[in-house]
Symmetry: C2
Subunit: 417 residues, 2 copies
């Protein structure tokens, strides 16, 4: 076994040992670790910002782009928001030990299904250094040990932020190895994590762009909670309220174009006058790629290519299509969607209920913006991401989704006949 592989295996073993302790730790200790980490971040703000400046300067020297730099850079306001995020997670209910079902059988056996941590969670992420703290905090609160693998471009920042998490853990008397940061930028470390570190990792959560998620999904030998695409739709039904259709479509597309819940295609029923919405999108600087009918509505609409219906633009671009009816809309979403988040706008109750029932996406909305696809908006407090797989967790992955369960069966000497 090579030195790197041995180092990763040792991290896995330490994580597993820490997970056993964390799984039995009371809420007060976990919250203390989170709050003390927030204190440490505020106390060490200058150190962290200096480290971040070092990362940012190195990135600039390598010629990194504006969006990439924006993801990397911290400032006092962003750092305070990271610290507040720790306090927010400390304030959330502890999912561990919650009873999700309880029943008795005629033979007197008493069954309780209670939430327990998943175990060890591997997080693989790119340039956003806040993920170090956010993901570590959510894993800790849900009783899971975390192995974090951040991007090399944020190495100094991640190290500085990670030191604050360790301060919190140690102060609370919890094992420092409850949250570990992979100390090498060697890409082989990612491969070792994806192989599961000899059974030490229970689930992998990738956080980053599509190429990262695609690699993780293709190579992981352990379960992955992730979404590859957020190709979200707004379907404006013939019975839509025009003002709602306008507000929801503009918000779903343009509130933030870079989030996975942003709408990428708008489908207009042929019984609805699409013109005003199309013109408003264009007026607000959104490029519209339309089918032949939509193109006729405004000269600024360009022709949609076949691939546009399958594209997550993550930008101020929307594909727009006329459909004949609800069936066609559902069929289009079924063919081109990514089972993430899709919305219908209509005043027709029956049409809305059919859409909510038949569209097979993690989140289906009626008369609301797709941009509500977010754990905080669901009331989960915080999320580690959104999952579009079908098993375990669909939609926002919050504290509850970072747990599994076990059955406790209490008897009085029952044997099975």
């Amino acid at each position: 076994m090579g030195a790197l592989e041995q180092q990763m295996f040792d991290m896995g073993k330490a994580a597993r040992a820490a997970a056993i302790i964390l799984g039995q730790s009371p809420r007060a200790l976990k919250d203390r670790a989170l709050l003390q980490a927030a204190c440490a971040i505020r106390r060490d703000a200058e150190i962290i910002l200096i480290a971040n400046d070092q990362d940012v300067r190195a990135a600039k020297e390598r010629g990194s782009s504006g969006a990439m730099l924006d993801r990397l850079v911290l400032n006092p306001a962003r750092l305070e928001s990271i610290a507040q995020g720790l306090e927010l997670v400390a304030g959330l209910d502890d999912p561990v030990g919650q009873v999700s079902a309880h029943w008795q059988r005629p033979n007197g056996l008493d069954f309780t299904r209670i939430r327990v941590p998943l175990g060890v969670i591997g997080i693989i992420f790119e340039s956003r250094p806040n993920v170090t703290v956010d993901a570590g905090a959510l894993c800790l609160k849900s009783g899971n040990a975390a192995i974090l693998r951040g991007g090399s471009e944020a190495r100094a920042t991640n190290d500085a932020l990670y030191a604050c998490l360790v301060t919190g853990l140690v102060d609370a008397g919890l094992p420092a190895s409850a949250i570990q940061l992979v100390p090498t930028d060697d890409r082989a470390a990612v491969g070792a994590m994806l192989a599961g570190l000899d059974g030490a990792i229970d689930v992998i959560v990738p956080r980053g762009g599509k190429s990262l998620v695609a690699r993780v999904q293709a190579e992981a030998r352990v379960p992955v909670l992730a979404h590859l695409d957020g190709n979200c739709h707004v379907y404006v039904h013939s019975a839509a309220d025009p003002a709602q259709a306008m507000a929801i479509t503009l918000n779903a597309k343009l509130r933030r174009t870079g989030v996975c819940g942003a709408a990428e295609t708008v489908l207009f029923d042929m019984g609805f006058d699409a013109g005003p919405v199309i013109r408003a999108l264009l007026d607000q600087g959104c490029a519209v790629r339309g089918c032949s009918v939509i193109q006729k509505l405004d000269a600024r609409v360009t022709a949609a290519k076949d691939t546009d219906w399958d594209t997550e633009f993550l930008d101020a671009i929307i594909a727009a299509k006329l459909v004949g009816n609800l069936d066609e809309a559902i069929a289009h979403i079924s063919t081109h969607g990514s089972h993430h988040t899709d919305a219908i706008v209509t005043q027709d109750h029956a049409a809305a209920e059919r859409f909510l029932r038949e569209v097979d996406s993690a989140i289906v909305l009626h008369n609301a913006s797709t941009q509500f696809a977010d754990g905080a908006e669901f009331g989960f407090g915080a999320e580690i991401g959104i999952a579009t797989g079908r098993l375990h967790a669909r939609g926002p992955v919050g504290l509850e989704q970072l747990t599994t369960f076990k059955y406790q069966v209490r008897g009085t000497g029952q044997v099975r006949p």
Copy 2:
């Protein structure tokens, strides 16, 4: 693409199309298909038994063993039990559409989490032909399409039973491809299923011996619901009621030795007199492999090897060990167990609660036999197996565990600020 691969891909496409219809089908249609299949089995009993006789004779000619033949052979009583199994599943509640959570947010958005089918389930099994019907029925009732791959040794029996399932589907007006039986014994078909048929299979359930499950877990590129080992423990605490310890240990080991919930190791606290239980096991024909202390209790006890603590005997053999206290018992189970099912026998409430909390198994029991590890005993009605993975489903996999969920969000025009 080869002919076999094309055939398997076509099955996947047909299954996906059927899954969309099944997922929207009302309970009455699914139940009708199940009940009509039961009728067909009773009507075609003679045909099925002749086909089975053909399989059994061929197996004998190949020199198959007694246990393997017993798994393969059907008789009128076993066939009637298969038909009754269909009626039982028809009588169970439909999990699809059940609301598992419902809440509102301050902005007026109304959230409902409802159960929806997983989609397409691939079942890979060995010689028991009843799995064709049992697994097909559970998938159908939970709204999932099924692709069944049975053992070649049961080919004629499976074909005959499968014809009855198709009769039921057609009679109910459901697509015949809702349940498909792989028509080839080519082992490459299994490989194609494990690769997911280009996204057409959502989850694989292996049913059979350890080598089958191990292959599926190692090679599958889609999620697997399964357990590899059922190395279950009974821990007899110092404060155990002697009569309960006797009854539970004997039942856990000997009621049926071939089931995954059978106990394989009994741990005796040094404060408990293990002699009577050990002698009763031996008197009932169970081989006991003991640690040095247990060996002194009866001359018939043989010395346990290190590997015995990790072995699922699935036979009238038990490993027996003295432990110093509850901590040692929990540590032993943590080291050697398979996270399946473990029990403590004690009158000490605090010790029992610690065991139930700290032993990290899908099922933990207090004063009850490990042989209750069974979906029917949990009140699930029926199960497709027991899962020891940590994600999605742990423990018995019944109808509810064969579903996932989606969030339906009902608004009145909300956009995200």
